[in-house]
Amino acid sequence: MSSTDPDSTGAIDFSMLLASSVHDIKNSLGMLLTSLDEVIDISVEDRPEQRKNYSILRGEASRINNALIYLLGLYRLQNDQLNINLSEIYIADFLEEQVASQQLLFDVNRIEVTVDCDENLTGFFDENLIAGVVNNILVNCAKYTRDSIVIRASEQELALQISINDNGEGYPQELLDKLSNSSRGIDFTSGSTNLGLFFSQQIAALHRCRGEQGFIALSNSELGGCFTLNLP
């Protein structure tokens, strides 16, 4: 193996080191999240007032988990190791599952989430990767919406379209501009890296069919913000 070659320059391949550390951290975090869920289950019955705190704990842990998944994913993307695993997905079930994974967050913040999708609608995409994209947006919406999130899915001209609408203030103009700018990258100076959006865009673009490519879009209406994912 070249990485253990004593004659090599001696410099550590930092990105590989990072990737394998992320991998370890992710596994630990997995255990942490599972134990946390159990603790919440047991202690919330005795002290319901702690529910909010627990939900913050869980929300943040799951954000870290998501961020690590992005990092690992982007690393693989860069090294051409990220292959998409297309399979047929039952959309209604898939969306309900994503909502279920963040149910505590929605309950605590008293957000009503509705899924509007035909029971028989199916789509073709990489379930794990797109789950990451949808989850990221849901967690984000939970933070900024007033009290409702509506998820709609439908087939539009042979492509699957999933839109996530909130009734908050809408996405900041700066973000809308950035996403519509074709030469986007990660802006490390602005504080918020929008890593999630960057990753979502990359993941969507990996989905191709009949010469079409997947994409994401952001828009605002008088009701609130709207995130759209389009997969051919």
Binding site: N27, L29, G30, M31, L33, T34, D37, E38, D41, N65, L82, N83, N85, L86, S87, E88, Y90, D93, E96, E97, A100, S101, Q103, E119, N120, L121, T122, F124, N128, L129, C209
Partner: protein, 551 residues
């Protein structure tokens, strides 16, 4: 169509669940979740052996298995063993729990895939949604899966067609089941149509693999090769793709490429016993004894405590070493290894016939060391035991034939083969094995095949298609490696081809292998004159070629 919460609760109450995980905390945590769904009977297992034992006692409706179970069998191997032993019904759910995203794992064959993968960490709510979905699906397709479990494939195919006409969300799932049922029924043309129909909509891996396998079965090897090459280039992690590519190369007569492909697949997933077996066989065909022996040893190791465990695995290793001795420079040393194989085996299997078969193979190995007296002594002793043995197997008797051949007792070998051909007249598999060992076809099918080959060969010779004749006879020799007529015909085709379009060292080598097979021909054999003439031709070509390369 939608199933209510109440109905689901009723389903869960009647289901039996098995959880397989090596961490007690994890088992407990999943068990609590499952019990919260209303399931009454939840069992757990901490490793593969325990899990399989439990499945032998009861047919579970839902199995949740962690992929990584420490040093033990992983979740995929458990699945394969359960399917192999018919302990997992198609109406049941097998869900694999992984710490990784699914793409990090390497997939074996499509038919051994779980119903679903669930990535850790997951919450109770997520597990519930997943299980709900699978239970509803298994319920919707119950009749179809039940027909497959009852091995009534015609019924399953008809039911799939009915369901497809609903055009609901299970449409694709039904096409997929239908394709595999058609393939199993050997209706390859129809299976191909189903896969092509799906691929018209979407470029899906399972449909591509299904299509490719149907093409192979239909002998459309070039098309299949293009398709599988494309899958490999696109980074497919399904190892079945490599198996299929190896199969194509082998069918095209390129056993060396086939071996390389299998080695690649095994580097990715060294614990698949069936693939190791394929590699061992093809390596033997290539006379790559080192690899063959390595695989044979690995197979014994993998076979421990599994369904595949049998004395045959040990016999195979000993046979490989024995064959190796023929080509080895210091054959005497290897006899110790054969002894060691059988010493270990006899500790495990103590019945008379197993010991007898081991001694027969040992006599063969001893003959290969050149110690004729000792091998003769063993053979005589073994002959007596065969006479008093209780229903010795065909394989045992065939090993005796090989031993006779190794000792140079060709008449005894022939006599025994003729006897076996009569006894096993109706057994296709044994008949084939007999023809493999024999220098002329003895079974009815083998004789018929020989006539067909002869006629096809004659036509190619008249048309001066020597290249095609070479591949025809090479292919046939795979099934009947010792057949005199075939070896002679191959020599003839090679000599003609080289005389016409030039000598290559590869062709000379093939000619030499065929000549070697005929070296025991006696002068009174009617084929001897032709053999002699061809042998002289070959020698001349070889000398000229060597002189040329020297200049």
């Amino acid at each position: 169509m939608a199933i209510t919460k109440l109905e689901l609760l009723k389903f869960y109450k009647s289901k039996t669940v098995l959880i397989i995980d090596d961490y007690p905390d994890m088992r407990g945590s999943i068990r609590r979740m499952i019990e919260n769904f209303g399931v009454r009977q939840v069992d757990t297992a901490s490793n593969g052996e325990e899990a399989i034992k439990k499945c032998e006692e009861m047919a579970y409706d839902i199995i949740l298995a962690d992929y990584n179970l420490g040093d033990n069998k992983n979740g995929q191997q458990i699945l394969e063993e359960l399917r192999f032993k018919n302990l997992l019904k198609n109406t049941s759910v097998y869900m694999m729990i992984t710490a990784e995203t699914t793409k990090d794992m390497v997939f074996g064959a499509l038919e051994y895939q779980p119903d679903d993968y669930l990535t850790k960490p997951f919450t109770q709510a997520v597990l519930e949604k997943r299980l709900d979905r699978l239970i509803v699906e298994k319920e919707a397709l119950y009749e179809i899966n039940n027909a497959i479990d009852a091995n009534n494939l015609d019924k399953a195919i008809a039911l799939c067609q009915q369901r497809i006409n609903f055009h609901d969300k299970y449409e694709h799932r039904c096409y997929r089941i239908m394709g595999s049922c058609l393939y199993k029924k050997q209706l390859y043309g129809k299976a191909k149509q189903v896969y092509q129909h799906i691929l018209g909509d979407r470029d899906l891996e399972w449909a591509n693999i299904g299509l490719g396998k149907s093409m192979i079965a239909l002998e459309e090897l070039d098309d299949a090769e293009v398709l599988f090459s494309k899958l490999i280039d696109s980074g497919s992690l399904c190892l079945e793709v490599y198996d299929c590519m190896a199969d194509i190369s082998n069918r095209k007569g390129d056993a060396e490429t086939a071996q390389k492909l299998l080695e690649q697949a095994i580097a990715l997933s060294p614990n698949a016993i069936l693939r190791q077996q394929a590699l061992a066989e093809i390596s033997e065909e290539n006379h790559n004894w080192e690899q063959a022996e390595k695989s044979r040893r690995k197979i014994i190791k993998l076979g421990n405590n599994s369904v595949y465990e049998s004395p045959e695995l040990h016999f195979n290793l000993a046979r490989t070493i024995t064959a190796e001795m023929e080509y080895n420079e210091a054959p005497k040393d290897r006899i110790k290894d054969v002894d060691e194989v059988f010493r270990k085996m006899k500790r495990k299997y103590k019945d008379d016939n197993t010991a007898l078969q081991a001694d027969i193979i040992s006599a063969n190995a001893v003959a290969k060391t050149g110690d004729n007296e000792r091998s003769k002594a063993i053979a005589e002793e073994v002959e007596k035991r065969i006479d008093s043995a209780v229903s010795p197997s065909a394989k045992l008797m065939l090993d005796m034939v090989e031993t006779y051949n190794a000792m140079g007792s060709r008449d005894k070998a022939k006599e025994l083969l003729k006897k076996l051909a009569k006894t096993y007249e109706d057994n296709e598999e044994v008949s084939e094995a007999i023809d493999r060992l024999s220098d002329e076809p003895l079974s009815a099918k083998g004789k018929q095949k020989a006539v067909e080959l002869n006629n096809a060969g004659k036509k190619l010779f008249t048309d001066k298609e020597y290249g095609k004749a070479i591949s025809l006879f090479s292919q046939a020799l795979k099934h009947y490696p010792n057949n005199m007529g075939l070896n002679l015909n191959l020599m003839l085709a090679l000599v003609r081809e080289m005389t016409g379009s030039g000598v290559t060292s590869a062709m000379l080598d093939r000619c030499s292998v065929a000549k070697e097979k005929l070296s025991h021909l006696s002068e009174d054999n009617p084929l001897f004159d032709r053999y002699k003439v061809l042998g002289d031709h070959y020698a001349k070509l070889r000398t000229n070629f060597q002189d040329q390369s020297a200049n």
